[in-house]
Symmetry: D2
Subunit: 369 residues, 4 copies
């Protein structure tokens, strides 16, 4: 189960400190122009070392295209992408290998497999998400050609929430924060946190504009169901919401239902999905990240023999993993959307011909977007 | 995509007001005793008409076992379950068919397929979930034989939350509410709501006790990822949390990480899952349900030609769909767990032999459970 | 694994002498007109009791459409089809249940599952193939709307092979034999065989005309690979060939390669598939059926305790299962083709736009067809 | 669809003359010792350049293990294997790119995708099978630990068939021929063929000894069905047989059925599979390879504009691709068996406990093996 998607399938491999990480993107349509340079922007956005508020691992993250692209164009055959791990520090992992860090997958991997690669978290490291971002570069490109734009931002860090939602501000600061005025406050907060040796959680919102109505499969292939799985598969995620999410629990029906008018929907509590299928409104997903479990602060724990030990995690670690997670959430949103778009084309590609009335009413779009 | 699961696969079919609904449960191990009576309890818990607070559809919901069971024992071949729709009211659906109810899948089905079955919501009706509950009766039985107990309760309705978590109280009231003392307050609240013609949301918590460490597959087959997809695939769900969920966003790392001791974990913020794999602690999932979209209160809407119309929904509808959702959430939890258990046995069935050290340390269990 | 197909998925269930058999056809496009009468023709072609040369089970095989069709049109939701087993003879299965018939799945089911339904072969009975034929009625209809015609014939029975390939003759005799002149010879042969209590094998050829170039997925989703799996999944099949099949072993390359001209290919040794993808030529698959294992002739065998026993198979059995298999082979061919067509549309639906040159050269068709 | 298998999944990527080929083996159990050296033997057996009778491409085919193995032991995470293409000849592919070689996938890839990588056949080259052989090295090792031995041999080349079946002889000659006395005849035959510029087909038989009864899933996951798909997915394969295959067509039932005795089966016409499930007998699969389509002999053909051109294929090509296919057929057999073994363990892992009678009667084995 290192494969994600039904028709557009991403298979990733690689450990944090193994020789390389990589992915195979299968099912991609032919005819898309792809060059190694295309991956630079999003990998840099996700990369460690972007700012002093994220961890200090410095890797080139140079993507090599091994297959599936001929003369710069996708051929429809599997696209393999490879990134060598150049920043593998040689050190003694014997101590780490023998004990379980709280909040980490150390204990569960060891229980499941009877063996684990202890170097930097091995397969359970967030380094794996690099390949999701890389694969999604292609998905984003394909979606953009169809008028779909995917982006994300940080909507909470610890107890701080944005005072404004200024999309233009997001990419101007290292926090993907949609209110530039709050950036100094965030910087001070993060500096204090890093000094304390502690960490904090964060909430990311990923959105997609321009998704046409009809993407998504009812019941077990619902667009929101697959988004939930996609987001929850990211390291450190503990919650996923579509549209108003848990706030809907306290809503009344008359307040929550999004009224349609000839000019479009009057609200978007649903987050752009009804019955598992896109409605033509903005798709909106919120994702909760727990605080980084790797802390400089020592804690009592256990070793593999059941003895009590002091667990101290050294090395490079973000005080807030959620910050760098914005491009990862975007990536998962883009991959799910493109997969669903292909599946929709497969089953309903000729709905227009068979039922001409479907061609009508596309003017019902989101007036509030 | 009307199939759920990897090795234990549930395929459901049927529309709300078609001749029947049913499911095929494939991949089930042989040797499990199953009788038609086994389905009665959970189907009754989920059934409409359980109390005056849920809708008035009265159906026998009698399960017929069509295959896969010989002399009362599962044979390993697919188990088909069928329920005839006996309460199909004959009425004129022409008006409903021509307009889009806000908050419903009417518009998106119509956009996707160019055709929809308008009778009672057709395939998008929550009636489909009956078969999930039926299939999960078998999963719960198999899990129980292995010491795993699955149950659920209502943790919020509108703005009301339980004052206590008394597991014994859950099945003594029609709200699956874990504090018997609050039941009169809930009854009054629901009566007022029904009188007003409005509806409200709810939050369900589903838990599993006794899950051994090691169930779940890393990366895209994570136990929490599959639970998120499973829950989000239920009608009206807008959010899913594992453990502390969105509350984790405001946690610090030192506060959130669950410390292990020789006697077990000291807390369970993680909800029993680390790195996508069960830790041996209680699995805890929270699910947000939006308020019922079908209201007696009229609303402006659109018909299939784009004209503005008054949409009035008559018929039987729960003022709070979340109440009846408790057994559905349990069902999805049970199905995911059993599927993961089978997959774990496939890949790691001989871990004990190969790596004898895994046999140790099972004493690390949840002290708080 | 009672599900077949990737996007067009058939899930079958039911035992030979259980209450019913059925299937769920998922992923079917909306907008196809389907009525219960549509199933009559092909089910009758496959049915037992068609002639005195096939077994005497008399069942109505009435298909009930349980879901997925509204007002006679497919809606895109799963189509469930049900056939009640009306001809279940009540008899004592205790003896059959305790011994293993040679050439049957009795022993292997018992070894795998530790339990088996002995009534009429249970799940391993060819009765299951009824639902494949039923599901394929829909696939054939969809394909026919796109100019693809699927049919089959018997190409060998015992040592007898057709003297001519007259497509018009196939449906005029109970053997699906493409040379009407040989029918008396076949009748005499079968009468003698039935009298002897023995059985014989047969070879079926299934063909598809009008398949456009481009259907099929390279490597593990090859059109020929999936056809091989589809045919080999039919009861009693021991071999599958595409085009010239095993005769290719003795060919030279200069003899085997199909030369292309502006008027089309000059031969079709390949059977219409190159590199796993349809070439636009006729698709041709040959399927070998072993002789019926159920014979009146007694044979020494074993019971479940390992004792030597005399095994005598009574009941209704075809002396040549291959005869009735023609519609089953057609069904599997149609299902594979439609599934691949949908997958092709998903991945390459816009190849024409992106690479306009693909629009050319469709005049290269099979001159020999 | 570049992924093969259900639980043990092989995803391959790479083109013949791209930078690299590789695979990801997912779902592999932990605890298997694997080193780069383990791949040398089988890759050499498959490699081009093994003898003067196979083509002259000289590649090291050095396997790099990129992930999934820690300190020489599989960890349960995906195993990525990479082979750099070191023998990429730089040459002008413009002419090849513009015309369709008969018998090749050139035309169908171009029709499907609108673009193709013409270098050495691109993705449709048999070079892809290298990774199947590499992945199967791990499967063979796992199977061997459970007493299952997989091997293969050449059973026909052109019109020549073996006079004896001497398993010990197979690996002593470059033809995998089971009769050493015929090797000089074969050498002369191949020398003449190569001189003529023509090619010839071949038949490979792959067998597995020691497979326990019970592996395989009925209906659409049948062991023989999956073997048929696996073999047919190999380049140039046109036919697959299980056991007696097409010869069964002329058999009578009394002749074909394999009689069981307390000492074992008296024959193995079935090829070790009954009802899609292994019987405990030897598994035997025969595979037909067409003659190599790439010939020095010129032929009339078409270019991408539909013009008639002379097609001359230069470069390195085996006059009989079937010779090198023996290890590839073994690989597919091993991969299918291991996948089925894991699936069997998942569903029926506790059959022994539930139905103790299954533990008996394992003395019913193949007396003739």
């Amino acid at each position: 189960m290192n494969t994600f998607g039904q028709l557009l399938r991403v298979t990733t491999f690689g450990e944090s400190h193994g020789p390389a990480i990589g992915c195979v993107l299968d099912g991609c349509p032919p005819g898309i122009a792809i060059a190694p340079e295309d991956f630079i922007h999003d990998l840099a956005r996700r990369a460690t070392g972007k700012s002093r508020h994220t961890s200090a691992r410095h890797e080139a993250d140079v993507v090599e295209i091994l297959s599936g692209v001929y003369e710069g164009i996708t051929t429809g055959t599997p696209i393999a992408l490879l990134i060598r791990n150049t920043d593998q520090r040689s050190k003694d992992y014997a101590k780490i290998a023998a004990q379980f860090r709280p909040g980490h997958a150390d204990y569960t991997y060891w229980q499941k497999y009877g063996i684990r690669d202890p170097r930097g978290g091995g397969r359970s490291s967030a380094r794996e998400t690099t390949m999701r971002v890389a694969a999604a570069v292609i998905a984003k490109k394909w979606l953009a050609q169809r008028g779909v734009r995917v982006y994300g931002y940080l909507a909470q860090i610890g107890q701080i929430t944005p005072n404004a939602l200024d999309v233009a501000a997001i990419e101007t600061n290292p926090f993907f924060w949609p209110d530039a005025a709050q950036v100094p406050e965030l910087e001070a907060y993060m500096d204090a946190l890093r000094k304390s040796g502690d960490s904090v959680g964060a909430k990311v919102v990923a959105v997609a504009d321009g998704v046409p109505p009809g993407w998504g499969e009812p019941i077990y292939g619902k667009l929101d169901g697959e988004l939930a799985a996609a987001m929850m598969s990211i390291n450190a995620v503990k919650g996923v919401e579509i549209g108003d999410g848990f706030a809907s629990v306290a809503h009344t029906g008359s307040q929550h239902r999004d009224v349609m008018t000839p000019e479009g929907f009057l609200s978007n509590h649903a987050g752009g999905i009804l019955g598992g299928i896109s409605s033509g409104q903005q798709i909106r997903v919120s994702v909760a990240f727990k605080p980084t479990s790797s802390l400089r602060l020592p804690v009592q724990g256990l070793d593999v023999d059941g003895n009590v030990v002091d667990v101290i995690t050294t090395g490079r670690h973000d005080p807030c993993v959620g910050i760098r997670a914005t491009p990862i959430c975007e990536a998962m949103l883009a991959l799910v959307l493109m997969d669903q778009a292909l599946r929709h084309r497969a089953q309903c590609g000729d709905v227009g011909e068979v039922h001409p009335r479907i061609a009508g009413n596309t003017s019902i779009t989101d007036a509030k977007r």
